[in-house]
């Protein structure tokens, strides 16, 4: 292994992680400085929900595609979301496994699992790029950051797929590109929309608390109780 690859796998990643953590810390601190809107209204609803239950329901919606019309009516979009995010998890994990636990990659089955996850995510990424360009609604709302973030992640998946076997016998180019992309990704994320997961727990908790107090969450689609005789 060349010094450059070793540097990319270790020092560069560590620096990128520290930078990402620092910017995240500043971002959360900035966010928490905004005053929290106070809710004074007495709770409404049928009594079978409350702010806490609303919060749990709201946070759990990510795993309940049937609960929201937007995900219920577009199961393929929801499946894409799942595949894409599993690919992100697999690719991030790979960036730690290669330098710190390469033994795991001696298992062909494990390598295959990683490759299936990031490979599927790559396909979804390509589909999303096409959708972002061809769908007039999505194109109209897209910023340069939206396009760049998607292209960055999709390329990253491609190199993760190639890097998963952890084999540099044919040259270090693929591995080096994967780690350079990972480092760039880590440093870019806090400044881009990819950092949405930082806000997710807050937005969903606040909305869930609000709608839980008002008896809206959990959403009802069937009669909530027996109609009187």
């Amino acid at each position: 292994m060349s010094n450059l690859l070793h540097f990319s796998e270790h020092t560069l990643q560590e620096v990128a992680l520290v930078l990402m953590a620092t910017v995240y810390f500043l971002r959360i601190r900035w966010f928490l400085k905004w005053p929290l809107g106070k809710e004074r209204q007495p709770a409404t609803g049928l009594g079978d929900t409350n702010p806490k239950k609303g919060e749990r329901y709201s946070l759990g919606l990510i795993a309940k595609p049937w609960a929201m019309e937007s995900t219920r009516s577009k199961p393929f979009m929801y499946a894409q979301f799942v595949v894409f995010h599993l690919g992100v998890i697999a690719s991030i994990s790979l960036s730690f496994i290669i330098p710190y636990g390469p033994g795991l990659l001696k298992s062909a089955a494990f390598v295959s699992v990683i490759q299936v996850l990031v490979g599927a995510a790559f396909i979804v990424g390509v589909m999303r790029i096409i959708r972002r360009i061809s769908n007039p609604y999505i194109r109209a709302i897209s910023s340069p950051d939206d396009h760049f973030s998607l292209i960055l992640l999709t390329s990253w998946f491609a190199f993760a797929f190639l890097a998963a076997p952890n084999d540099i016998s044919g040259g270090e180019g693929t591995m080096l590109t994967y780690f350079l992309l990972t480092a760039f990704f880590l440093m870019y994320v806090p400044f881009s929309k990819i950092s949405h997961y930082l806000y997710y727990p807050f937005t969903r908790t606040y909305l869930g608390r609000h709608f839980g107090r008002r008896g809206v969450f959990p959403l009802r689609r069937k009669p909530a109780y027996q109609v009187s005789k």
């Binding site: 609604y137 910023s143 009669p223």
Partner: protein, 458 residues
Amino acid sequence: MSSTKNERSYKAQKVIDRMGQKLNRQMVGSLAACVHCGMCTDSCHYVLANPGDPTFAPAYKADKIRKLFKHHYDWTGKVFPKWVKAGSVYTDEELHELKDIVFGKCTNCRRCTVNCPMGVDLATFNRMARGLLCYVGIMPEGVEYVAKEQWEIGNQMGVLKEDYIETIQWQEEELQSEMEDPTAKIPIDKPDSNIVYVINPREIKHDPRSILDAAKIFYAAGEDYTMPSEGWDMTNFGLFNGDDELGGAVAGRVYDKVDELRGKKLVISECGHGYRSTRCEGPNWAKKDITFDAESSVITMLSYIKQGKIKVDKSKNPGSYTFHDSCNNARSCGLTEEPRELLSLVVENFQEMYPNRAENFCCTGGGGAMSMAEYRPSRLKSAKIKADQLSATRAKTVVTSCHNCVDGLTDLIGHYKLGMDVTQLVNLVANALVVDGIVEENKKKYAEKEEVSSGASQ
């Protein structure tokens, strides 16, 4: 005053400064978290009625507000403005363009909110943007007029106190005549009552029958209630124009009157935005914790039937009925099951509308849209979605618990020639009332009360 790009107009600067004062953490989360996934797009009735036009998409509309936030309050937008689509406003013309989006292309129905995977509450910051524009006097003329009436006269239709009292007295006479009981009353400002009943000024101006129907139900239930002579308007244009100060003042008048009368419970007649404003948002705007119970008249009527205080005969309401959920009732206050349960007790043939409850589509008259004449053509075009929903039920009558929805639905039913009637639960419950024996009982109670009070005065 207009301005060039190099210098910002007075109003544009005011809007930007005011934004910083109105933002809270929930709103900042919603402004920062959107990933432009587009999942909200199909949830909006404006989008569905205008296929191919992305300017109606919730995320597109939200970005017109979001860009200001990013440019002035989010440091990513300050550092890389073009990269994240941050931008500012410089001229009054740009503010007017924003007005056409936040007032003319969104009814604040919150359907996109409940369909956003990230939990972005567009309606809440759209309302904030309306408030920013109203702060500098940029708003639809109808909104300005109604808000002024509510600030100055105390109700959104400019009903004078004399006219209000006279209408109540007229309905009291109607009650006495219909019940054949000269002792039947609609009390005004009666202290220590169980219920203080507040209404929508539309009931005084255009629909006094609903006051009579409510009075008949209270009469049949033997309820100890009163209507206040002031602070009786439970509607609140502060919800529509984003003015928290107006919202707090209007809701505060109602709360203060209930306190003054020492009422035990505030009952709010059927009105979606009135219920939301008075029951839910009012304490926040008025910065006051209310000390009495408050409920929708739908819940009151349902409890009367369940407790046996009134008897109803559903065969008195023949025909087929469907129910339209008011956005404010269903999506912002969780009032979805009680109206259905009540409806099932007073009509024989009920057809559910799809989608329904918190997924229902707006009547398209929400968010104050009925007072914005300039956007009527666009509103009625977007009403195609609701019209299709209504006609799919094949019901003859649509029931709703909202005066605003009554007007919105009536307008679209006429426009799309659906030939349906619109009514409210109070009308159906009053029509289904079984009053045999109640009149005699009430007359007896009245005579006993009179005897006690004359004995006390001697």
